[in-house]
Symmetry: C2
Subunit: 319 residues, 2 copies
């Protein structure tokens, strides 16, 4: 029987998105369920499979699905398990054999990895990295995630958890405290939270005038972006600082895998030139001569609202 579709599932702490995708990368239909209403993974799976079956019924039923790809926090590609996912209520403290449990229910192969790796596969399959064999996906959201592609395959490493570039060290001494327990991680500077933190620190430390001082709520990265877009000098410098941290880090990443391009994805990547210019400038200033001005920095070409589903779904074609 012909199986023309794949399913992409993006499991977040609060909600999970499910979509059916065709070979051209069109999300034919999608829906959302709550992740956080069940403490038992089996009850969550009941909801998920029920939602998936409903979607599939619109397109000829579950037997038209070739494979299911899932992006999930701490998803292990090798084992199909979700391990110690503290931000998911049913994530528990040990390894949940999620892919296996789902295949048992639906009779369809399931692949699972973390969201940044899924985004990299999505970009390679449908987006800006089509045709590329060597690139690095950097997701700039609440945190900084990464998916590394070498010779056309995502790098999972010995244990399935490779590609944690948000937790490489940006500032070695007196760096910012990171949620991971370490200090000075790139993520503490270059994420949406990092941008807001830089702005708040600078507003506190200096008396420099800035339109951000007029805000009464806690300053977010969106506020900083809007202020910078209006020409606010302090806000512009926050983006320059953020781009410097990213550019410096990217130079080290290039020394590792010599990628053709680094692809930026996520909310902060929408800052455009405000972030891109300082990234390019600082990356090139820190690259070995052989790579100067040769590494492309490009933006994801996946539609933001579909990206998480598309990324996960792309894993389904590999099954």
């Amino acid at each position: 029987m012909e199986k023309p579709y794949v399913v992409g599932i993006d499991i977040g702490g609060q909600t999970s998105k499910i979509g059916i995708v065709d070979a051209r990368g069109t999300v034919l239909t999608q829906s959302t369920i709550r992740t956080d209403t069940h403490t038992d993974v089996n009850l969550y799976l009941d909801d998920l499979c029920s939602a998936l079956n409903k979607l599939a019924d619109q397109y000829g039923g579950i037997e038209k699905i070739r494979g299911i790809g899932i992006g999930a926090p701490n998803g292990n590609y090798y084992t199909g398990t979700i391990e110690n996912a503290v931000n998911i209520v049913w994530g528990g403290s040990s390894a949940i054999p999620f892919a296996k449990l789902m295949t048992e229910r639906l009779g369809i192969p399931v692949a699972l990895t973390n969201d940044a790796n899924a985004a990299a596969v999505g970009e390679m399959t449908y987006g800006a990295a089509r045709g590329m064999k060597n690139f690095i996906m950097i997701t700039l959201g609440t945190g900084v995630g990464s998916g590394i592609v070498i010779n056309g395959s995502v790098v999972y490493g010995h244990d399935g958890f490779a590609g944690e570039l948000g937790h490489t060290t940006s500032v070695r001494y007196n760096g910012r405290q990171c949620n991971c327990g370490r200090v000075g991680c790139l993520e503490t500077y270059a994420s949406a939270i990092g941008v807001a933190r830089t702005a708040r620190e600078w507003l506190e430390m200096t008396s420099e005038p800035s339109s951000l001082r007029e805000l009464t709520d806690i300053i977010t990265s969106k506020d900083v972006f809007e202020a910078a877009s209006r020409g606010d000098t302090l806000a512009i410098r926050v983006f320059e600082f953020t781009g410097k941290k990213l550019g410096e880090a990217f130079a080290d990443f290039v020394a590792f895998s010599a990628p053709e391009a680094i692809v930026l994805f996520g909310g902060l990547a929408r800052s455009g030139d405000l972030l891109l210019k300082p990234i390019e400038e600082n990356m090139n200033a820190n690259l070995l001569p052989l790579w100067k001005n040769k590494i492309k920095i490009i933006f994801s070409q996946l539609k933001e609202s579909d990206a998480a589903i598309l990324g996960a779904s792309a894993l389904g074609w590999e099954l």
Copy 2:
């Protein structure tokens, strides 16, 4: 006709080593020629092929050779070229199609890469990394080189030059000047030259007693090792500092490719526990929790005198 042997060639700035190797990783016979006596690559190749033919004649002639592997500075695996190798007199300023020139003369396939990548293939084929699919080779010699293996293959990147971990940043601000033109590279701290430099700086900056003060010649890393072995406190701290720089860097490398092990090779690796203990301690202190105490640091198992030939020769089996 049966072709039971491969040839390994290690091209250094002053001399080149040539050896014939069997499938068990035994160097059956070897010889050395000068690299620096010819400014023309063709004359150098005449010498090299003549030396190689002589060796081959001892083992049934050139037709018994399956392939030739070469480790050379700035060797590009994809193109078989040696590019801008400033330390080789015939290296010139452009790309020399070395593998092609050699195949034309001998009628045997030739693969070429840099020495650290060759060492990684050697370790995987004959040494401490046998059976490993994911590891990082770090060569601690005059400089710091690296060969990264992912899914059983050396990472060459988009352009053939991936794996320059000696030129990732160890100290971001006020770091030591590196020969590459950058500042703060790992290599300026963690190489043999870096060790000697640290010792000389500390002797100059402090009045701490040390047996190193009695030396009349310029202090080398070997002097520092010998002093540390005798219990010299300053020399021991130089190794602790060097190990700290390596351990911190290794934590970032692990975040990239999640290797099973990091394999140490080269002169400085013979320092044993003096270097190993601070590396392990500082790597584990800087790793994400999921990797703490899980990444092996091991020493190369290739015999030092044969290692360069063995490493290069291992490429010959892949042809």
